[in-house]
């Protein structure tokens, strides 16, 4: 690896200064599972690494009545180990248990998965399903961006020069809320999504009507996709296989994948529908607090 300087600021202002001093050749470091691998491969020309993990705000998980805030550098391991997060946000754990293996989860952060901005990132469809807000700091102060607007192209996002992600804020789920993330890979573990789907629903008090829903897809476009029309089509509809099939078709229509070594365009289009439907079934199950979904993700044995 090339020679570089390492700095570990203790607060956000120091980090802003360190990144400003380093200019284009400085990058923030959280878990390093993308950044250090890219440095090892000689893909990045950097002079300065700014380690954000000594900044308390970036390493904190905090809960208020309105929201859950996860510091951008908090590792998947820390999230997976937090019982209150596991209980309240099971869909988030769907993602943080899938990112790499155990030893990657020990370091990899939710914020880093977002900032790496891979179209196939396993956390991002889920963050979109949860209506997460991204809190950003930089030389011009702080700002916030809806997560569906964060990624702009493969490996690119809205962070400007010297800016970095501080935290991800999850609104507290309303009553009768459920969410899920599913991905398709040809192996059991340790692979990159061929397609990923995140879904969330809010059900009526009798839990038989979908009041609102959000659907998002990964690995089928240059950025993770927020398929707003699929969620909108579910609003006000009864919980039924027919309703879910309509949303699944809209997700399939929204997908605009490429063919590559992981999958073909027709396969990815097909999977977009299937995974959307299955993720919605699990989200509905979680909203109902029941177990109508079998181990294949089928609602009452259908599909």
């Amino acid at each position: 690896m090339q020679a570089l300087d390492y700095v570990a600021p203790n607060n956000v202002d120091e980090a802003i200064s360190a990144l400003a001093d380093g200019g284009d050749r400085a990058r923030p470091l959280s878990g390093g599972t993308d950044l250090i691998a890219q440095l090892q491969e000689g893909r990045l020309g950097l002079d300065t690494i700014v380690d954000l993990k000594r900044i308390p705000e970036l390493m904190a998980i905090s809960v208020s009545s309105d929201s859950l805030t996860i510091g951008a550098s908090v590792s998947c391991h820390t999230i997976n180990s937090n019982q209150s997060v596991r209980d309240a946000y099971p869909a988030l754990i769907d993602s943080t248990h899938l990112i790499g293996g155990t030893q990657i989860q020990g370091r990899a952060s939710l914020g880093g998965n977002l900032c790496n901005s891979s179209p196939a990132a396993d956390s991002i469809p889920n963050l979109i399903a949860h209506s997460v807000t991204c809190h950003i700091a930089g030389p011009n102060g702080r700002r916030s961006v809806a997560v569906e607007d964060f990624c702009t192209a493969p490996g690119r996002n809205v962070l400007g020069n010297g800016e970095f992600l501080v935290a991800l804020e999850f609104p507290t789920p309303p009553a009768n809320f459920g969410a899920a993330y599913l991905r398709f890979i040809p192996r059991n573990e340790m692979d990159i999504a061929v397609v990923g789907a995140g879904a969330s629903v809010v059900l009526s008090d009798d839990k038989n009507t979908i009041q609102s829903a959000r659907v998002s897809l990964g690995a089928v476009a240059p950025t993770p996709l927020f398929v707003q029309e699929a969620g909108d089509a579910l609003a006000g509809q009864p919980v039924s296989e027919e309703t879910l099939a309509t949303a699944a078709e809209l997700a399939k229509d929204a997908a605009r994948p490429i063919s590559d070594m992981r999958g073909t365009i027709p396969q990815r289009k097909h999977l977009s529908a299937i995974l959307t439907q299955r993720a919605l079934r699990i989200a509905i199950d979680r909203a109902r607090g029941t177990k109508t979904v079998d181990e294949l993700g089928r609602l009452n044995g259908h599909g």
Partner: protein, 157 residues
């Protein structure tokens, strides 16, 4: 070349200070600066697990940690697994089950398995296979490794 940094850490239970270049990974510092060559470089990019260590008790790939990051933190390597000159039960069972052939992946498997048993003393076979999915072995076909870990787990139960 960037100036060397002095890093203070707890390494296998002992207070340790070492010099490193900021660009060095923890794996490089362990092997080249500290002479702890038990941790292996398989892939060098986080795919194989041969360099696994415990960082503040959490399993990580030392090839994806910069050495300066461990300032003030605690690291356990394969060299810190045996206690008082006695092999750790995992090391003993790996021998009894012949869970290694070339041996390059073995330190990573032992450290990773220890992290599993610290987290879950009685894992199922599925738990063991899932946990060890990030450790690659090209010789054994994994069965003997899984059996050794389960044997230790059952021994503890």
């Amino acid at each position: 070349m960037a100036k060397k940094i002095a890093v203070e850490t707890t390494l296998n239970g002992e207070e340790t200070v070492f010099l490193c270049e900021p660009r060095q990974t923890l794996l490089e510092a362990l092997r080249d600066n500290l002479g702890l060559i038990g941790s292996k470089e398989g892939c060098g990019n986080g795919n194989c697990g041969a360099c696994n260590v415990l960082l503040d008790g959490v399993l990580v790939n030392s090839c994806l940690v910069l050495a300066p990051e461990i300032e003030g933190r605690s690291v356990v390597t394969i060299e810190g697994i045996a206690e008082d000159g006695q092999l750790h039960p995992l090391q003993q069972k790996f021998l009894e089950h012949a869970s290694l052939q070339c041996g390059i992946c073995t330190p990573g498997f032992i450290v990773s398995s220890k992290a599993l048993l610290d987290d879950n003393p009685s894992p199922s076979e599925h738990d063991v296979r899932l946990w060890l999915a990030g450790n690659l072995c090209r010789c054994t076909g994994y069965d003997k490794i899984v059996r050794a870990v389960l044997d230790v787990a059952e021994g503890d139960a």
